[in-house]
């Protein structure tokens, strides 16, 4: 039964197909459609198709960015930063000691060792000066002689 039905359908389509022909005028119309609205128009069509969604996406992104910038904590006009302590209260320096945090006293043998560890033309200037938390090229360090808190050896 199934095979018969399949054969019936195939015969039916074959017989009906004999009566359907694409006239030359119809074929020419199809070809002209391809020539006129086809390949050359593709970029314009793409621009037309994606132009509006792209514009909408750009506007949305701009609005989101503006809102984010305005409402970001600490950046808005109506918000102020919480007061933060600037630094620990400075103690009165002892007489005779230079202001500021003194650097540890360099070892006497340090100048003799250091050149051998740093290659010639190396990046010794770019390296931190030994104090943690101090930017390498930030505020100038106090002069070395001033920074020596160690008393002079008594002779």
């Amino acid at each position: 039964m199934s095979d018969e039905l399949e054969a019936l359908l195939r015969d039916h389509y074959r017989a009906a197909a004999d009566e359907i022909h694409a006239e030359p005028a119809t074929v020419r119309r199809f070809q002209e459609v391809g020539q006129t609205t086809g390949r050359p128009a593709a970029p314009a069509s793409g621009v037309r198709r994606w132009g509006l969604p792209l514009l909408a996406a750009a506007v949305t992104a701009a609005v989101v960015m503006a809102v984010t910038v305005l409402l970001w904590p600490g950046r808005g006009a109506g918000r102020q930063e919480l007061p933060r302590p600037m630094a620990p209260p400075t103690s009165t320096p002892a007489p005779g000691t230079p202001p500021g945090t003194p650097l540890p006293a360099p070892l006497p043998s340090r100048p003799a060792i250091e050149p051998s560890r740093i290659p010639d033309g190396g990046t010794s200037e770019a390296r931190p000066s030994g104090r943690s938390g101090q930017p390498p090229s930030g505020a100038p360090l106090p002069a070395r002689p001033k920074a020596k808190p160690s008393p002079e050896p008594t002779q």
């Binding site: 359908l9 195939r10 015969d11 009906a16 359907i20 199809f30 070809q31 391809g34």
Partner: protein, 172 residues
């Protein structure tokens, strides 16, 4: 549809249209049962193919065009099913249906009516299977559904057709 499918690697779009217009027009007519609508749908399908011709030509442009055409036809059939009161078809189509050759046991014109009454996807599956001679896998790719869906559509369509054929033979 025994003619070998046209591969687009070395042909121009115009040559492709010349080679495939007849086959695809028949497919379109079997899908929508309206000659003018079939031509319109095929024209739309060719337009879409022409826009992507460079890319489509590297693969199988006829299969691509058929896929576009079948999906356009399914959409159109659904649209027409929603507004059933709108008259469709033309005089020539009615004439063709009326004088369709009674193939294999006097079921010709009536078989057309049954095929026409099938839901859009079931009819598409039948056309692709028995007119285009596509496999279940190819039909699934064309329609963008699974092979299981193709099987179920085919089975339902065959039940309706079998019922019609049995009744036709019982009347004889």
């Amino acid at each position: 549809m025994s003619t070998q499918e046209t591969r687009g690697a070395e042909v121009t779009f115009e040559e492709f249209v010349t080679a495939t217009a007849g086959r695809l027009l028949r497919t379109a007519v079997f899908l929508v049962y309206d000659r003018h609508l079939a031509e319109d749908l095929l024209q739309v399908a060719y337009e879409r193919v022409a826009r992507r011709w460079r890319r489509v030509a590297e693969g199988n442009p006829e299969a691509y065009t058929r896929r576009v055409l079948v999906n356009l036809a399914i959409d159109e059939n659904r649209r027409r099913a929603r507004r059933r009161d709108t008259p469709v078809g033309s005089v020539t189509d009615v004439e063709r249906l009326a004088r369709a050759s009674p193939a294999a046991g006097g079921a010709g014109g009536e078989l057309d009516e049954v095929l026409r009454a099938l839901p859009a996807k079931q009819r598409a599956v039948v056309v692709l299977r028995y007119w285009c001679d596509l496999s279940e896998h190819e039909i699934a790719e064309t329609l963008g559904v699974s092979q299981g869906t193709v099987k179920s559509h085919t089975a339902r369509a065959m039940v309706a057709l079998r019922k019609h054929v049995r009744e036709g033979w019982a009347h004889e």
